[in-house]
C-alpha cells in the first residue's frame, strides 16, 4: 500500500503549495512505513517532475496530454481516482486550493472515500481509522474529523505544513489511463493571472494591515517595513533574495 499525492502545477511549474503537499504526504508515508507516489497532470518538464523526489516522492506518475494542459475537473478526478486504484493507495493527499476544493469531493465520491478537507496537521492513524484536525466555522474553530472509509482523501490547507527537503530522487513514469470523452465537459477559454504580485497562498510573508494603514501618508512606513523584511530575508533565505516582490501586502 502506497500513498498517492496529486501535485498541481501552474503553467508547467510546481509552486510552494505543491511542495507542501508532497512533504505532508511523505511524513504520512514515513509514519506508516510505505512509499509515496505522486501524480502530475498537464505539461510539466521531466526535470521538474523528478524534482519532487527532493521532497520525498519515490515515483511520479506523469499524465501528459494536450487536452489536459488546463484544469478539467471531471477528467482530472477520473484520472486521479484511476491512479489511486492502480497504485492500491489507501490515502490520497492533495491541496485544498481553489481547484482542489472542486476536485477532492468528486474523487472522494468516485472512490466512496471519506474526505478531510482543510487539514491542518498530520493525521493520527489508528488501525483502519484516521483522525485529522481541520478548520471549522470559517477558521474561528478547529474540528477533529475521523475517517472510517477504506480509502481516505485529505485536502491539505495551503500554508499549513512546511516544506521539507529529504534529498531523494524520483523516477518518472508515464501514466495514460483511458479517459472517457464525457469527462471533457468543460473547456478553459481564458486564464488571467496578476503578474505584478504574488498570490496570497504563495506569499512567504503576509502583512495584514487593513484599515490600520489609514491613508496614503502611511506609505513611507509601509515601504520601510517592506524594505526591512526583504533585507532580513536576504540574510536568511537566499531564495528570497531574488524576489523581494514575494512579500505582498493585503
Amino acid at each position: 500500500m502506497s500513498i498517492l499525492v496529486y501535485v498541481e502545477n501552474t503553467d508547467g511549474k510546481f509552486k510552494k503549495s505543491a511542495f507542501e503537499v508532497v512533504s505532508y504526504a511523505k511524513s504520512i508515508a514515513d509514519n506508516i512505513q510505505t512509499d509515496l507516489v505522486a501524480i502530475s497532470i498537464g505539461n510539466v518538464a521531466g526535470d521538474e517532475l523528478a524534482g519532487l523526489g527532493k521532497y520525498g516522492a519515490s515515483k511520479v506518475l506523469n499524465v501528459d496530454n494536450e487536452r489536459l494542459a488546463s484544469f478539467v475537473n471531471q477528467a482530472y478526478a477520473s484520472i486521479i481516482a484511476e491512479a489511486v486504484k492502480s497504485t492500491g493507495s489507501k490515502i490520497l493527499v492533495l491541496s485544498n486550493s481553489f481547484s482542489g476544493k472542486g476536485l477532492a469531493p468528486r474523487i472522494a465520491a468516485k472512490l466512496e472515500a471519506g474526505l478531510a478537507d482543510g487539514a491542518l496537521e498530520l493525521p493520527k492513524i489508528n488501525g483502519d481509522k484516521l483522525t485529522v484536525k481541520k478548520t471549522a466555522f470559517s477558521n474561528k474553530a478547529f474540528a477533529t474529523l475521523e475517517l472510517s472509509s477504506d480509502i481516505k482523501v485529505i485536502a491539505l490547507s495551503p500554508n499549513a505544513y512546511e516544506t521539507k527537503e529529504t534529498g531523494g530522487s524520483a523516477t518518472v513514469e508515464t501514466f495514460a489511463p483511458n479517459i472517457d470523452q464525457t469527462d471533457f465537459t468543460t473547456m478553459v477559454k481564458e486564464i488571467v493571472r496578476a503578474t505584478d504580485k504574488v498570490s496570497l497562498p504563495e506569499a512567504e510573508i503576509v502583512v495584514s494591515a487593513g484599515r490600520g494603514l489609514k491613508g496614503p501618508e502611511t506609505g513611507v512606513w509601509w515601504k520601510n517595513l517592506q524594505k526591512s523584511l526583504v533585507q532580513l530575508q536576504h540574510v536568511q533565505n537566499p531564495y528570497l533574495m531574488q524576489a523581494g516582490a514575494r512579500i505582498r501586502s493585503t
Partner: protein
C-alpha cells in the same frame, strides 16, 4: 426540505439527497453556495456533479447562460479562469455572482403560498464524522510599535515572535 439529516451524515449524505431529487426531476442547472459556514467544505456541489455525471464548477464569480451554453468565471490562485460548458451543470456560486435582491412585502406574502415538500432522506453511509471541536488559543498581549520604528517591529517579529 430534507428532514432528519445531522452533521454526522456529512457532505456525501447531503449531496446524495440533492442528487437523487435532481435526477428524478431532470434539472438543467443546479446552483449551490460557495461553502457552508460551519465546515467550509465547498463539497456538496462537486459531489452532486459527480453523482449525476455532469460537470461542476466551484467558486464561480460570474455565470452567463445562452441557450444550453454556459460561460463561468471562477476564482483561481492569483487570478481568474473563464471556462465554457453545456447544460446540465452544477455551479458553486461565490460572492459577486449576483446582486442580492431584498424581497418586498408582496413577495414575502406570496412565498407563504408556495408548496413546501418534505422529503424523507434515503439511506446513506457515514464515511466521516466530527469527533471533537476546539477553539484557537487565546490571543496574547499586544505590543504597539511606533510607525517610525520599523526596524524594531521587524526585530520583534524575528527575534521574539519568530514568525519571519
Amino acid at each position: 426540505m430534507l428532514y432528519g439529516l445531522t452533521p454526522l451524515h456529512a457532505m456525501l449524505g447531503l449531496a446524495n439527497q440533492i442528487a437523487k431529487y435532481a435526477k428524478d426531476n431532470a434539472f438543467d442547472l443546479i446552483l449551490t453556495g460557495r461553502e457552508s459556514i460551519d465546515y467550509n467544505g465547498a463539497q456538496v456541489g462537486a459531489i452532486v456533479g459527480e453523482l449525476l455525471h455532469i460537470p461542476s464548477v466551484s467558486i464561480a464569480k460570474k455565470v452567463d447562460i445562452a441557450g444550453d451554453a454556459v460561460t463561468v468565471e471562477r476564482e483561481i490562485e492569483g487570478g481568474k479562469e473563464v471556462l465554457t460548458a453545456k447544460l446540465p451543470i452544477v455551479i458553486g456560486t461565490a460572492e459577486g455572482v449576483a446582486e442580492p435582491k431584498i424581497p418586498n412585502m408582496r413577495g414575502i406574502m406570496s412565498a407563504r403560498t408556495k408548496p413546501l415538500d418534505v422529503l424523507e432522506p434515503s439511506a446513506i453511509d457515514v464515511l466521516e464524522h466530527i469527533v471533537s471541536y476546539e477553539t484557537p488559543a487565546p490571543r496574547g498581549t499586544v505590543k504597539l510599535v511606533d510607525a517610525a520604528e520599523v526596524e524594531k517591529l521587524v526585530s520583534l517579529l524575528h527575534d521574539e515572535a519568530k514568525v519571519i
